[in-house]
Amino acid sequence: MNARAFIPLAIFAVIAVLFAVPLLQGKDPAILPSAMIGKPVPLFELAPAVGDQKLTTALMLDEGKPFLVNFFASWCVTCKDEQRVLADFSDKTGIAVYGVNYKDTKDAAGKWLARHGNPFRATGFDGTGRVAIDFGVYGVPETFLVDGAGIIRYKHVGALRREDMDTIFAPLLEKLK
């Protein structure tokens, strides 16, 4: 049999492998790498979404310890599942979690936090989404890990699951200490 007869099969095999590798890795190609990693946390000042503590960069950097910034909205369906996860992670590690309320209303955000839990030390109301743009946020929820010097170290896109905290955030935080 002519070896040439196998050329189409060989081409098919190469293409099949090229498609199979990313599929089996289970990565979502729509999730984009963040351009903000390694950059300083943006400077901003936001009125509180709930309570009366304003959310500012200075407040977050005050302790000089790593912290989390979580972008959430009451209209975001997957956000409610991570409130408990964030609260538990904060209890366990002592890390401060700050919330930025993205394109919402204060009224809706207040009710939503009362109902699904409020893991935030302070919240900021970003009605126009301008602070989110400074963070390079393209959808909620997104969560940033910032080190004590104010440098963004990691960004997670999508709802946080307990395994994300154990396998990604806890080891990163350990390294920052």
Binding site: A30, L32, A35, G129
Partner: protein, 130 residues
């Protein structure tokens, strides 16, 4: 009936995502804004540029682009402002740099591979032609 259908098609205008209240009063600046918007990718609906996208984030970035222009930024400064936050991916034309050489060079590589295959094939043809 057919005539009417064709007439309406000719009279219709393309639907723009840019809302009238987003537009700048200065037509020169507005056209610069449109030009920049066509070079920025919408990150929510990743195949579209922000000029044609109806996503909320696209609208926010369109407004931001216009704000920066009014503040006196050059077109390049506006593009790099957005790129700093969202990365190279936000540009519809990825920049040429070591990481993208293969991307930009691939068409040339394929072209030369084609030349190679064609040369081999022609050499094997029986002499004297068909």
């Amino acid at each position: 009936m057919k005539f009417l259908a064709i007439l309406f098609l000719l009279l219709s205008t393309p639907a723009f995502a840019v809302l009238p209240d987003e537009m700048l009063p200065d037509p020169v600046m507005e056209s610069r804004a449109r030009d920049i918007s066509k070079q920025l990718r919408c990150l929510v609906c990743q195949g579209e540029d922000i000029d044609e996208s109806n996503a909320g984030l696209a609208s926010d970035i369109r407004k931001l682009v216009r704000e920066r222009l009014v503040k006196g930024d050059s077109n390049a400064a506006v593009l790099s402002f957005v790129q700093e936050r969202y990365g190279d991916y936000v540009l519809m034309n990825p920049p040429v740099k070591p990481a993208t050489w293969l991307l930009w060079g691939a068409p040339l590589l394929v072209l030369f591979a084609g030349f190679g295959i064609a040369a081999l094939y022609i050499r094997r043809l029986p002499k004297g032609g068909a």
